[in-house]
């Protein structure tokens, strides 16, 4: 049955989409001071520092791992650089038991939750300690204990899944919600439309967090959509929406707190659009000089979200140069050492090829594994990762750092 209660008019006026405008919520200026009229969010020193640590860790990890990729130690990497405030500010506004379903550039949220440097490294080197058992490319993290769903490369598939997950949370009545992150590019997928529509129809406690970082690989947002960002789509679903300065961690934090309240207390799904910029290349396979200017990058580099927060922390007397130096040093050392150790660990065992396809391997899979084992016994030198493991030594090595092809 038809739901509209709209009033009648008698001349054919087309709406153009400029009948409203969507403002950007911001609290913190780049110099670390608050905008006039802006009140700081309810954020104590401990939490602020937990956020800051996660941001700096993410930056250090990204720099170091990109270098490792360049050295051929790692096949692939993706940086969060420039988007740490969006990702970590929002994660910090959640309960640690809330589910996070991310796209791939949200390692900061996972770091905030407490994923250890060692855990990061094991995944990236796909070694025997990787929870994912060396099956996915680097940066496809997951943690059951930290309520962080394992990353899946096909874009946007996690968005309707988040709606479903949150529906389950609502039925369970445990007071938790789900946040799902995605890029402004992924928001073009059909799954996005499905997810947001189902979320308002079924009144689901889910937060849709769009990182509008201006690019989908080489495709600028202006070739991705004609509208003013992703936010106006919320109107199509009668969903609550807010746009926020994604480089302003305080604004992101507060907006997400509020969104979480709407989600958990009122089963109101919310769309948050964080305006930010992907400062680095899309991935280690990409070179952005082919599609955007250094000048544009520089302009955004001046809006560095980490520096902005640091200045605010300093203005609160919560942070000092010495602490900064010590933190940087400690993190750099930790990353380096942990990386070295992880790289040395052996590959997952051969049977990890056939486990987890089903809850238990089928007879066919067991047969295929047995055949493979026999084959490797014939040619041990041809399969060093698994053959050497049989003799209980040897290193996993970088998973296929050999190829220099683009695209991921």
């Amino acid at each position: 049955m038809t739901t509209t209660t709209s009033s009648l008019v008698h001349s054919p006026a087309f709406l153009k989409g400029d009948e409203f405008s969507i403002d950007t919520f911001a609290l913190l200026k780049q110099d670390g001071s608050l905008f006039e009229g802006a009140a700081p969010p309810d954020l104590d020193r401990d939490k602020a520092l937990r956020i800051y640590h996660a941001m700096v860790f993410t930056r250090v990890l990204d720099e170091r791992m990109l270098a490792a990729q360049r050295q051929g130690r790692l096949s692939f990497y993706m940086q969060c650089t420039g988007e740490e405030a969006a990702v970590i500010g929002s994660a910090a506004a959640l309960d640690d038991e809330d589910m996070i379903m991310a796209q791939y550039r949200e390692q900061g949220a996972l770091a905030y939750r407490g994923f250890s440097c060692d855990e990061f490294m094991n995944q990236m080197f796909g070694n025997e300690r990787d929870y994912g058992k060396g099956r996915q490319m680097p940066i496809h993290y997951g943690s059951a204990k930290l309520n962080y769903m394992t990353i899946s490369s096909p874009l946007a598939t996690q968005i309707p899944q988040a709606t479903g997950y949150a529906y389950g949370q609502k039925l369970a009545g445990d007071g938790h919600c789900t946040i799902t992150y995605f890029g402004e590019g992924a928001a073009s997928e059909g799954d996005f439309h499905a997810a947001l529509n189902m979320a308002t129809v079924h009144k689901v406690p889910v937060i849709f967090f769009c990182r509008n970082n201006g690019y989908a690989i080489s495709t600028p947002a202006v070739e991705q959509f004609a509208a003013d960002g992703v936010a106006p789509r919320a109107f199509g679903y009668k969903m609550r929406v807010i746009r926020v300065d994604g480089n302003d961690v305080l604004a992101v934090y507060q907006a997400t707190m509020e969104a979480r309240r709407l989600a958990v207390e009122h089963n109101q799904p919310v769309l948050i659009e964080a305006m930010t910029y992907r400062l680095a290349a899309h991935s280690s396979s990409d070179d952005p000089s082919g599609y955007r200017s250094k000048k544009e990058e520089e302009a955004w580099r001046e809006k560095d979200p980490i520096l902005r927060l640091r200045r605010w922390l300093e203005s609160c007397d919560w942070w000092s140069d010495e602490e900064e130096k010590a933190l940087q040093e400690r993190l750099r050392r930790e990353v380096l050492e942990t990386m070295k150790a992880a790289q040395k660990r052996p590959a997952p065992p051969l049977d990890s090829l056939v486990t987890d396809v089903y809850d238990t391997p089928t007879p066919q899979l067991n047969e295929q594994l047995a055949k493979l084992e026999a084959h490797i016994r014939l040619y041990p030198e041809a399969y060093p990762k698994s053959a050497s493991r049989r003799s209980a030594e040897g290193s996993a090595g970088a998973p296929g750092a050999e190829n220099g092809q683009g695209g991921r």
């Binding site: 769903m149 309707p160 479903g164 997950y165 389950g168 059909g190 129809v201 809850d359």
Partner: protein, 325 residues
């Protein structure tokens, strides 16, 4: 025991599953108040409430995406796709997500609770888009289970097993039999095993293998053949993935001949996989080439549906050809 048709048997299985476990949810297009366009979910919303049995918006990729999320959360979603012909918008969510969820996460997460029910098959004047048998598309996808029941008794037991199996299961319902197939169905909560074929008639000259609605066809063909003195062993594969190589191979080792029949087009159909496996397993025992009687390599037609379908006469002729080889 009551005499039920296939729809009633399915409805009963869903009812039992929902009563036994409050995490079981049923949803899909028109599944809620109306009970589904075929009425497979009749009365479930009345009994279990709108939160557990409901209509979704008209978006298959969303239905399965939502179901994947629910299953990952620990619920047991039973999602309906209104016709198997309309499962393709959800192909990515099924093939890239449901099937790979456990593997890619190293078993940190899984969508084992997921079951997808969908009516498939021809013979109802449905033309291109209400007749397809897409099981082979999914059978090439490790991580999924694919099940097709042949009658009400099987449907209830296999569906209950599918819902409770800790892996994502695609459950294809032969819609031509929804009302046409009736039979005794125990009222109890019982399960039939996934991954196991069933020899439903023993024989010595040739093995006839099919699944779902096509079972009826090969049984009738077997009767025609018996009249000509050909003894047919009739096997219902029941699970397409993983499939029961042992039972089929053992039967062929005995009879020396195999005929497989399905409605889907020949090329790339699941009969090809079976033939390839069995020719390897039973090479020295085969007395004639493995024969496939299937739909044509065309989309599904309408006016000439009868001509298109692999009916009992075509199967009968193929049996004779195989035996006379």
């Amino acid at each position: 025991m009551a005499n039920l048709n296939l729809l009633q048997a399915i409805n009963q299985a869903l009812d039992i599953a929902m009563a036994a476990d409050e995490r079981v949810l049923c949803f899909g297009e028109d599944v809620g108040g109306f009970g589904g366009v075929f009425r497979a979910t009749s009365h479930l919303q009345e009994k279990y409430g709108k939160a557990r049995c409901f209509n979704t918006p008209l978006v298959e990729q969303g239905i399965i995406g939502f179901a994947n999320g629910l299953a990952a959360q620990g619920s047991t979603p039973v999602a309906e796709i209104q016709f198997a012909d309309y499962i393709f918008p959800a192909f990515d969510q099924i093939v890239n997500e449901s099937a790979k969820f456990r593997y890619r996460s190293g078993d940190l997460f899984n969508v084992g609770g997921l079951t997808i029910r969908t009516p498939y098959g021809g013979g109802i004047a449905g033309g291109l888009y209400h007749s397809q048998s897409p099981e082979a598309y999914f059978a090439h996808t490790p991580g999924l289970k694919v099940v097709v029941p042949r009658n009400p008794h099987q449907a209830k037991g296999l569906l209950l097993a599918a819902i409770r199996d800790p892996n994502p299961v695609l459950f294809f319902e032969p819609k031509r039999l929804y009302r046409a197939s009736t039979g005794e169905v125990p009222e109890s909560d019982y399960q039939l095993p996934l991954g196991e074929a069933e020899v439903i008639k023993e024989g010595s000259d040739i093995t006839l293998l099919a699944w779902g609605a096509q079972m009826e066809v090969i049984e009738e063909a077997a009767e025609l053949a018996e009249k000509e003195g050909i003894s047919c062993e009739v096997v219902d594969l029941r699970s397409i993935l993983p499939w029961d190589v042992e039972t089929v191979a053992n039967s062929v080792l005995k009879t020396g001949r195999l005929l497989i029949s399905h409605e889907a087009p020949l090329t790339g159909g699941f009969a090809g996989e079976i033939a390839a496996t069995i020719q390897e397993r039973c090479f020295l025992y085969l007395e004639s080439p493995i024969s496939r009687v299937t739909g044509l390599d065309t989309p599904f037609p309408l006016t000439l549906e009868k001509e298109y379908l692999p009916d009992r006469l075509k199967v009968f002729e193929a049996i004779k050809a195989s035996v006379a080889y």
